[in-house]
Symmetry: C2
Subunit: 405 residues, 2 copies
């Protein structure tokens, strides 16, 4: 039994920090607002009797002891950072559902054999510091600590400096934390569960992603006296490339997705034919072969467009992870919980990357999805139903209990 009202109040309390006029959140990683959110979370955990530690990359661990201190912890967690125009639940729901599990175990005097750790991972969104999932990535040995501390935001500010500034550069060695299992509850961030009127998504894994950066170089010249036929317009070429990126996902079909999220035009003057355009590309597919086909099409088509227009294209691989299956045993605990509770459910593959994807490389991992309104996420209007929040939290409690003994 968990307290759905308390969970909802806690969500709404945290949603006051970084609230935007449109009802969303702007609480970018390692800003003053992120610090404020982290501080409040730490206070809540300490009030719930947890011991809080912080590792070298700012990941927060709140421990509820078990009977057997030698067993590796059964972990829950997610992230507290948001997109620039993000919602109130992405990541935050998973963290606070974990807090509600601990609070309700306390209320009911439930003891577990293994200790329980509630984890907040640093910079999951990849919005301020790219790529995403940096805290879990370092913890799982995907990135080195030094590399991540050196990543800079678009203003040139270093991640490591911001970590120290807000007081979350901890002492605990980042790869030293023993995890026995990891559960992450999350909003679906897509339309599937809502469309099928299903309460819980039993997440069997996450689809693969490939991120790129493209730089198109042409020749700057005057917008007036330069005839169309003599132009090498980097932006006109980039626009056709952007259309091609969209077309690749439509053509490959199925669950294929492609997105261009950032564009920078140089020199960015109204009457100068752009000489250089930089943009990001995000390709996704749950089927590894189809993702490889998308990658090949991308390289081929963008090169052809550049060639035809006398432009130079530099296409660099920025980040990627393969399709990631979760641990059948833990997924089974989730499935048994929803069945026992009589919740409507379906298996689902995560369209987004989550810290769970990196954790799954070293630790048995599963995720629990709840529906979100209109499938909308990375949007200030992101919303969920309190009863779904409560159901997901109850399933999380069941799964943790089944694993921790």
């Amino acid at each position: 039994r968990i307290d759905g009202d308390r969970l909802w109040r806690t969500l709404m309390d945290l949603a006051t920090i970084g609230a935007t006029p449109k009802g969303g959140l702007c609480r970018l990683a390692l800003t003053d607002l992120d610090k404020e959110g982290r501080d409040l979370f730490v206070r809540w955990c300490e009030e719930a009797g947890c011991t809080v530690t912080v590792d070298e990359v700012g990941n927060i661990f709140a421990r509820r002891p078990g009977r057997n201190p030698d067993r590796p912890a059964v972990c829950m967690g997610s992230h507290l950072d948001t997109q620039p125009t993000g919602g109130r639940f992405d990541g935050i729901y998973g963290v606070l559902a974990g807090l509600e599990v601990i609070r309700s175990f306390n209320d009911q005097g439930i003891e577990t054999d293994a200790p329980i750790d509630l984890i907040v991972w640093t910079n999951e969104e990849g919005a301020r510091f790219s790529p995403p999932m940096l805290g879990s990535g370092v913890a799982m040995g995907v990135f080195t600590l030094d590399h991540v501390l050196d990543i800079r935001d678009t203003d040139g500010v270093r991640l490591g400096d911001e970590l120290a500034r807000i007081g979350y550069k901890g002492e605990v060695p980042v790869t030293g934390h023993a995890m026995g299992a990891y559960f992450e509850a999350h909003i679906e961030q897509g339309p599937v569960l809502e469309a099928e009127d299903v309460e819980i998504g039993v997440v069997t894994g996450a689809q693969g992603q490939r991120w790129y950066e493209a730089t198109v170089t042409g020749r700057e010249s005057h917008a007036g006296p330069t005839p169309m036929r003599l132009r090498r317009d980097a932006l006109a070429g980039a626009a056709v490339m952007m259309e091609a990126v969209e077309a690749i996902a439509l053509e490959v079909g199925g669950d294929a997705c492609s997105t261009i999220g950032r564009v920078q035009v140089h020199p960015d003057s109204r009457n100068v034919i752009p000489g250089r355009v930089w943009f990001t590309i995000d390709l996704r597919n749950p089927d590894p072969d189809a993702l490889a086909r998308m990658d090949a099409l991308l390289r081929e088509r963008l090169a052809a467009i550049a060639d035809k227009r006398g432009l130079t294209l530099e296409l660099t691989d920025f980040w990627a992870f393969p399709t990631t299956p979760f641990a059948p045993e833990l997924v089974g605990h989730v499935r048994r919980s929803v069945e026992r509770r009589g919740l409507s459910h379906r298996d689902i593959v995560s369209g987004a990357g989550h810290d769970a994807v990196y954790v799954a490389r070293k630790v048995p991992t599963a995720m629990i999805f709840i529906p979100c309104e209109n499938g909308l996420s990375h949007n200030e209007a992101e919303n969920i139903k309190p009863e779904h929040a409560a159901s997901g939290c109850a399933v999380l409690a069941d799964a943790v209990l089944a694993t921790a003994g």
Copy 2:
């Protein structure tokens, strides 16, 4: 007779202020570097015996007296500000060719009946403060002084504040300056003269321009779990619009040009489907009917793309000027000079806007073009031949002399 070597040295001296590593200039209007350039110019004019005054919008007037102080001045001029990645000659050539005319008149003891004014207009480029040609625009009553002083750059800094800060907010009423005629020498900024191996362009007028701002609004959502068919991707739509803008100029043909110089994507995060894209559009045509057709096509096609994709389009008129003919009598002075000097020449319509276009609304005006390397301008590689600089300057001297008596 003018001194081509001195003109070239003067050009190279001014090109040290704001020099870029790639051999161009970055001397945006009303920055510290613009002040430095203006100060050097003013010193040169005073050394040449001119009286320098500054008007309320920062336009600089250097006067060489005539025998008849009651006659309105015969004026020469252009601008000293540059694009962010601009060249060493755009505008600057016209100003320093004027200075060389005054210096050589001094050397040869030439007196004129009318006074001669050499003018530097404020913020011609429209790069830092938009639209272009603001100084000449206020002087000719196209814009009000208050409106222009209130224009802000992309950092929100007010033009009027910058003018005061660099010490060029003058006392002379901006519309009070009596001009009897205006000649502007300029690099062509296009490929025509070079391609035809012609030394001087006799400029008969300038083509019309229409500038717009487009804002495309869709719906922000997550780049991963949002299926392609449910997206309202503002950037995917904007990319198709950008292609349509290019196609309009290609379709209308002739001298039609279209350019998108600036793009801003919101929220500008790699894994967020953009909810809003803003971009600028620049359409040009020497034929007023063809320009009107381009305008109609733009409205129709962009609206159709928005409609098809469930996006909202806001297309606003930002700035425009119609095809502008210059004064036949002054153009005749230019033509007679090139003929008498035996310079190869052709009539040409300016593809760019110039201060001369606004001045022509109130004052008889003509322009003289010289070729530029590869037709390249608004590019750090912009270049001209010293002998062309000297020829254009000699023609300017002839035309001024013929007009000033």
